[in-house]
């Protein structure tokens, strides 16, 4: 399983920073993450299943997209982009 690391407020809504989540791609991991933690349903992925514009996902430190492969024990960071006003 991938090791998904979250920051606030996602970590607060999911009950912790670190979560073991199954999935072969970033998209699958995030779908499973939201399914296992209903309070963040729709927070990371929009209705189309796309990563929200101002959310960044990294796999082992490399920027990832929905189709990026994820191997067991990969580290997946989900964090807000450095954007905003």
């Amino acid at each position: 399983m991938a090791q998904v690391m979250l920051r606030a407020p996602l970590s607060e809504l999911c009950g912790g920073r670190l979560h073991a989540i199954a999935g072969a791609t970033v998209g699958e991991v995030l779908v499973a993450l939201e399914r296992e933690h209903p309070p963040i349903s729709g927070w990371v992925l929009d209705e189309r299943g796309r990563i929200r514009e101002h959310v960044n996902v990294f796999v082992n430190g490399i920027h990832g997209e929905e189709r990026t492969p994820v191997a067991p024990d990969d580290r997946v960071h989900v964090l807000p982009a450095i954007t905003g006003g």
Binding site: G42, W43, V44, D46, E47, R48, R52, P80, G84
Partner: protein, 375 residues
């Protein structure tokens, strides 16, 4: 004591006070997040706020105590069925139309039945709740309307921003979308028809206006109903002020050559006791969108738009270039005791407790204000 819920770019602020003691901030929530709209449902006492996280998207939150915990409402999501390339030629099938993800929720309005609320947003969805705001569902009649592929957004997005109920009759509803126009239903939202007859689209070439009868491009800014005479409506349009005396079937211009400094503006308000009344806040538009000449004035009609007069005593008279957005103007009470409040994108809140005769600044130094609602 009056309670004001002020939605801002950096959270929700509750102001409480009155003319004699002044107002103060008594609660803040959603720090750092955009609160497009917040209201208190007088039927339940429940507070509802539409909040958009820059990172994690829009949703509705509810609470019975704005100083305490807020609960996420469920169901304000779109079908996610827009896998068609938005740049591709439209197939003609509404199911293929580009529908996008939910961008914002701009307004929440109590319905006429117990527990019913409506919410509107961008890109043009109407949501309905039948359990006082806990869960919501998308109105498919409007969402799947066959004209939707021809809908185009205004400068603020494809926002469904105005929802007007008919007192005592839940089957009738008026909504307005920028820049699409007015939509009416008489069957509780199962079917919808656009209703923009009489509105002149001065922002389009004359030869292009006829086509808008079937493909509406009407940039409605706000609509309010006169509750004592519900077939009467007042509209602040993109460049005009209109009145309808037939429940929105047709519209007549009541803003041209009436002495108003501009017929552009966003909000419009009415005195519930007087169906001939309406209040607007003119802005130089659309290229500027600030108060004309640096003078802040609310303009009032008491003869259904035949004449208008400024009601600005106590408002800034010079060097004040304010922008007042669509939902940032609200009323409380009626008649001579009518209270009026509005907020600006520069963070000021102004109020009148004598139907607009005199004004005072009741809030200052807030973040840019999106909405003001009395509670």
């Amino acid at each position: 004591m009056t309670e004001l819920l002020v939605g801002t770019k950096k959270g929700l602020f509750r102001l409480e006070g009155d003319a004699s003691s002044g107002f103060e901030v008594t609660a803040r929530a959603f720090a750092g997040q955009s609160v497009e709209y917040a209201m208190r449902d007088a039927r339940t006492g429940r507070y509802l706020a539409s909040v958009t996280s820059w990172f994690y998207g829009p949703r509705i939150w509810i609470t019975d105590d704005p100083t305490g915990e807020w609960e996420q409402a469920k169901g304000t999501v779109l079908p996610g069925d827009d896998e068609v390339d938005p740049a591709a030629e439209f197939s003609g099938d509404p199911a293929d139309a580009y529908k996008g993800a939910l961008e914002r929720l701009w307004v929440i309005v109590p319905g006429e039945e117990d527990g019913v609320l409506y919410a509107g947003g961008d890109p043009g969805p109407l949501f309905e709740s039948r359990d006082s705001g806990l869960t919501w569902s998308l109105n498919r009649g409007l969402w799947d309307h066959p004209t939707r592929p021809d809908w185009h957004p205004g400068a603020g997005g494809l926002c469904l921003h105005t929802i007007v109920t008919w007192p005592g009759d839940p089957s009738k509803l008026l909504v307005a979308i920028s820049a699409v126009g007015v939509w009416l239903t008489d069957d509780g939202g199962a079917s919808w028809r656009h209703s923009n007859e009489g509105i002149v689209l001065r922002y389009l070439p004359e030869e292009a206006r006829a086509a808008t009868a079937e493909k509406p491009q009407h940039c409605v800014h706000n609509v309010r109903r006169a509750p004592e005479r519900p077939e009467r409506l007042f509209m602040q349009f993109h460049d005009g002020i209109y009145r309808s005396d037939d429940a929105g079937a047709t519209w007549v211009d009541v803003g041209t050559d009436k002495g108003l400094p501009s017929d552009f503006g966003f909000p419009i308000a009415v005195d519930p006791a007087d169906p001939d009344s309406a209040y607007v806040i003119p802005l130089i538009g659309a290229e500027d969108r600030t108060t004309p000449g640096g003078t802040v004035q609310v303009w009032e009609t008491r003869d259904a738009g035949d004449s208008w007069r400024p009601r600005g005593d106590g408002l800034p008279e010079r060097d004040a270039y304010l922008t007042i957005l669509r939902e940032a103007f609200d009323t409380k009470g009626q008649g001579e005791a009518l209270e009026l409040y509005f907020g600006s994108t520069s963070g000021e809140v102004f109020g009148s407790q004598d139907a607009g005769a005199s004004w005072a600044q009741v809030g200052d130094h807030l973040p840019p204000i999106y909405s003001v609602r009395t509670a």
